[in-house]
Homo-oligomer: 419 residues x 4
């Protein structure tokens, strides 16, 4: 049992911290100004490219990628404190260091399941930060939290696959640099539940791909965009297939582990920043003759924030360590646990920081309302809390299901069906 | 003890309900479309004027105004169920029936404290729905939850008052029809704490009044706007004074009672609509082989929503009844109580409705995210929860402070100061 | 809409209040002393009989009974504020005024469904406070929250019924004066779900009735006792039947409405007393140089307590009013609502009062720990919260179930069964 | 970063686990029976001595003691998983393995601050499990959460100290084997706040020591007892002094660190056992045609329990590791954090387990109600939550207090005092 970070990790932590202090935080106002001037929520502001150049020059690039070939090859546990720092400035830092969702997940999929052609055409420019990508899974017509509900059809026609369906919440698809979509659909709708789906790599400019609209999040029109996309007789060569037919569900599971933990790491960073703002504001404002920080209710909020942050950070670290040591599959329950807990801890802290800021807290003079919208959405993205809790409870109950209780239960169910 | 609504109230309830069903709800899509087309968040869409005309024709006008002269002269308890209905479509219904904040509060102030000139020039067109108004109290530089912090200066110079200061969260000031501001500032900064403030009626186009910017709320740019306004040597005649010098704090207290309870009534309506949406969505979506509504956790949410809604509605009704029978002043604790409780009940229900809607819930395809932003802001508007709880606790403790405990307490305090 | 209590109610409120102040509170220490001296948790202390005599002399007797013949004939809404007062001293006041559970419910059942013989033999002495009674429904072997699970068998044998089964949580059965049990069992285990049960009036000294043991509640051995009872070939004449065979479930439903609301009324009284104690203690104790009451977190607790108490009292009053005006059956959802909400409000307040009292709070120097145990148990007695929420949600969802959603749902269920 | 336990720890974990399975759990019924038969809550049942003999024979003795001389010399991080196991059977396992509160803390104090005479006379028999001890700090007359409130006087009179005062919640003092008290009092009431207190080792049979009574906890009369003790002119030789005059506060701080973390470790064990019981009960009981465990609300409870348990266990482990690596003093914030969080996590889980057990949950047929009472008390013992949160918040705010904010704050305070 050793809670010390590795030296390599501490070195990167210091360097990322310095980059945040020297370049990222000062760039936030510039970013806001460039976006405001552009008057286009999907504008790609020049400051971002400057930051990318600088980050790469500092060796702070592709920090997320576990493979040495493509970056420093950090473990998940080493990456966690870095992603946390990035989360403190979520609109700039992750993209500046080429470690932003959903590209990270897509890069991992392409690394693991892509053909040489995929790697050459899409993975390399993604790792170079030249293009961006999106992941088209969720559908408006069905409850996508149950992945087997997905209705998009992929039909083989000679050397081609033909895609028909409607997706939404395809994040990043409105990014100016987005060039490629990874699309999930059913090749075998009547097959076994988890073998119906397949995944294709689809250039965004393929004929039949129509971006219908972007979706706002609590009034925010995110720069990268959350798109509703119609696929109408979209044809791609069979070489667009990732892994094999029927492997889509398995790939999505492989993809979601790292994606989810990265989100949680950033959530912790956002919550830390919110707590800082809460403390600073409460020290600087005075009501009824004393600083707001001198009220015991505010102090309770601060203490609870610190306690919960330490707890969720440790659980996230342990989950990362499990992924590193026993593999993503065996960290499934822990990944589900942090996916539920991290946004909730963050939301509670951000909400209280908003409360201490008064009207300023819900405006954009502070990043709090935006953080809130972001974290609230995370309770839905990659599956709602309830689906993850279901997973955790199932595993827990399985420890106690004896053949006897199982039989009793099944007997009851059978009886219930009849009555 | 009789929980039956009056016949007059039930009659209005039916008529407002019919208006909502026949005109307001169908108008929501038209409104959204007209706003989208305009591409200007402060656009005044034609549909609104149509609805106003129709509401007036139906006798559904100035329902909030307790004075018979200006409307039907309903009591607060009779108005409550009507305001609740309006709250179900907060961007259309209150304005359509000329019963929207902050105009209602301003109309009450002008009725109670305005001169004949004020009434002729501002109250009448407000009651006619011809113009709109705003209330400039909160300031960016100080914690305005403690009203004695306010720094805007009002100085007498001959027949004029000269105003200097900076306000923000002046809601409605960006409304196309907004013509007048009620401004609070200090005429006697060294006077007794609650006699330093005065209130002036200031035409929005007076020289020296500069609207610096609008403020977003969780990414939403409300049509009526929340303005930051600079007052620089703004001169108004002394006749602009409401009541008398030093009466500002007292007027603001008088204003806030009805304003707060109206907010709460609408909160209940919003929460009811969110609960409806939650039920409908959970019945129509299927996961893991059963409708979402068949899950016991969702059923718990529904039951808790119903319980909490009934409770907060009753407390709001009782508060209205107290205001009607013993006066706003003696309902002070109850007003503070609903101001804390109603938005919290609403937020919990809306949040759970969002969760059941998945990604759709945080978008604008449903009104839920917007309701959430609105209600979250209400936990700050007109004083943060903590200030209202302070009021309630003080009153409660006073019942138990004996001379003995008082003395002990004061002794302790004195000792603490010395040490 | 009128929140004023009736004059008759206010008169009784004053008289019960005076009785509490003059006799009940001063008797608490005497009661504790007599119980301690006796060294027997089921001892019947003389002070109780004195209080009963006094209460009867003051006309404060059978206040709960809606029928004029047996008491003042108060409505539920009139009784509510009186039961609340009684709840402030739960071990003395309800029994002193002959209005304690489970006797009140049993007296109602006997009034409504008893034969003349039952009334003469059991109801009259109960109304006179000469004997006590118990209600044997819950069983240790099955989840009794689903009443159809009950396994006790009642078989007809000539002119007799023969009872076999095991009950527990038969409260009051260890009371020194307990003479009669009302027993629920199945006369027709294969009949329709809600027509299998019947109810019998069984003298506690009938051969075959064995009280196996008493059950503690959080370490407390309540004076009235919670018994586990075995019925082994217990024979009673067929005249012991209440109403008719198969009417047991219906009677239990009729019984539970008033019983549940009475519990809630007393919960409010207990919570009010806890809040008083919290305020007093926080004013009298000093930490870090100021009275505990001066800390904003404690003030938040006080304010939240006041808010929640007002809300739950109003919902309880409205429920009582509904029972009075449209009948218990049509108040079913509201009864379920307060049954869930009242103990939760009370528990939160009591818990915080304990916290402010420190070690004294969990001891018996204050009534708080005992109140807590009592209220915690109430979340299970007469059905756990979850069963009541289920009822409320079902009713709420029924409003939105269209034939279309119903069919979709049933289709899904059918499909789920097959897969 | 390594979350693996040491081999030594895993070896002990296995051995303690085996001892629990083979001896402790089976002994619980025997223990209950022996206590019941004795009819004396402070009886010392023979089974306990048998378990002690067995534990010692298995080398499971004094596991808590960090010094090799007295036990296996485990680190805090190594001891944590073992104390967790012990917590699963709190009335038997800790005492059986000679690792129970408050003796562990007292043994540590005597090890660190005791004279050779103290060690010979008290420490050795304590480490041998021959005697027990108690710690007399809390007083009934003052809020002892602020340790400077303590009023017991210790006056030097020649070669003796004379003690006068009243203590309560002196746990263990009613244990049949309790022979010695460590008493905190003021030798210099007018000295600097944290140098007024001293600590004495006082044989329990010293003249003038009167045990007034035991205190119940939620109705439970714990075997070891929580005593109220009067000290009236109690004389001990000056050699009874621990460390030096004025060192009492410092010793108490040194003592409380390990004591608090041990409590938290056991809390986790209790919560784990409650979760097991919850799962088992929910699988075995059927309502409305399905096992209780099939309800999504119960599954949510299980998942939340698992998430929160993992988080609090990790924070406790990290705190132990900090104590091992940087010392108790530097782990102060973390110790405060787990002291707040662990009982709350445990209480939530135990409460839900009670709910799933129905009436059985509040009785003594399961250990749940007793666990609840125990954990609830822990939110007060060694300082209420609010005092620990105060510590945490102070540390957090100190990071953000610039000279400027400090000055502003002090200015405000000064102004507040004057006004």
């Amino acid at each position: 049992m050793d809670f010390e970070l590795t030296d390599r990790c501490k070195d990167f932590q210091e360097r990322v911290g310095a980059f945040m202090d020297e370049r990222i935080y000062p760039a936030e106002a510039i970013y806001a100004e460039q976006m405001r001037e552009a008057g286009d929520p999907n504008f790609h502001p020049p400051i971002l490219e400057e930051l990318k150049t600088e980050a790469r020059a500092r060796g702070l690039w592709n920090l997320f990628h576990p493979h040495k070939e493509w970056g420093p090859g950090l473990t998940n546990a080493e990456y966690a404190p870095l992603a946390e720092l990035m989360g403190r400035s979520p609109h700039l830092a992750p993209e500046a260091m080429n470690s932003n969702a959903p590209d990270t997940g897509n890069m991992e999929i392409l690394t693991l399941f892509g053909t040489e052609e995929h790697k050459e055409k899409w993975l390399r420019p993604l790792l170079d930060g030249k293009i961006r990508s999106a992941f088209a899974m969720t559908e408006p017509a069905v409850a996508s939290s149950d992945a087997t509900n997905i209705e998009t059809r992929i039909e083989r026609d000679g050397d081609e696959y033909v895609i028909n369906g409607r997706k939404w919440w395809t994040s990043n698809a409105l990014h100016r640099n987005c060039k490629v979509l990874i699309v999930m659909g059913k090749t075998d709708p009547d097959g076994p539940r988890h073998a119906q789906q397949s995944m294709l790599v689809v250039p965004i400019d393929t004929a039949g791909v129509t971006i219908v609209r972007g979706l706002p999040v609590f009034g925010y029109w995110d720069r990268e965009g959350h798109a509703e996309i119609v696929f109408e007789d979209v044809r791609v060569p069979t070489s667009a297939l990732l892994a094999g037919e029927g492997e889509g569900f398995a790939i999505s599971q492989a993809r979601l582990g790292p994606g989810r933990i990265h989100h949680c790491m950033r959530s912790i960073g956002m919550a830390e920043r919110a707590l800082e703002l809460l403390c600073q504001r409460s020290l600087s404002r005075v009501t009824f003759g004393q600083p707001v920080a001198d009220n015991a209710n505010i102090r309770d909020w601060i203490a609870e924030a610190r306690i919960e942050l330490e707890m969720i950070r440790l659980l996230t670290m342990k989950t990362a360590w499990l992924m590193d040591t026993v593999g993503n599959r065996h960290a499934r329950v822990e990944i589900a646990a942090i996916k539920v807990a991290a946004p909730q801890v963050a939301l509670k802290i951000i909400d209280r920081a908003i409360q201490v800021h008064g009207g300023a807290g819900v405006s954009d003079d502070f990043p709090l309302a935006n953080f809130y919208a972001h974290q609230r959405t995370l309770r839905l993205a990659d599956g709602p809390d309830e689906v993850h809790k279901r997973t955790i409870a199932q595993r827990e109950l399985r420890r106690w299901e004896t053949p006897v209780t199982r039989e009793a239960v099944d007997g009851t169910r059978a009886a219930a069906l009849v009555s």
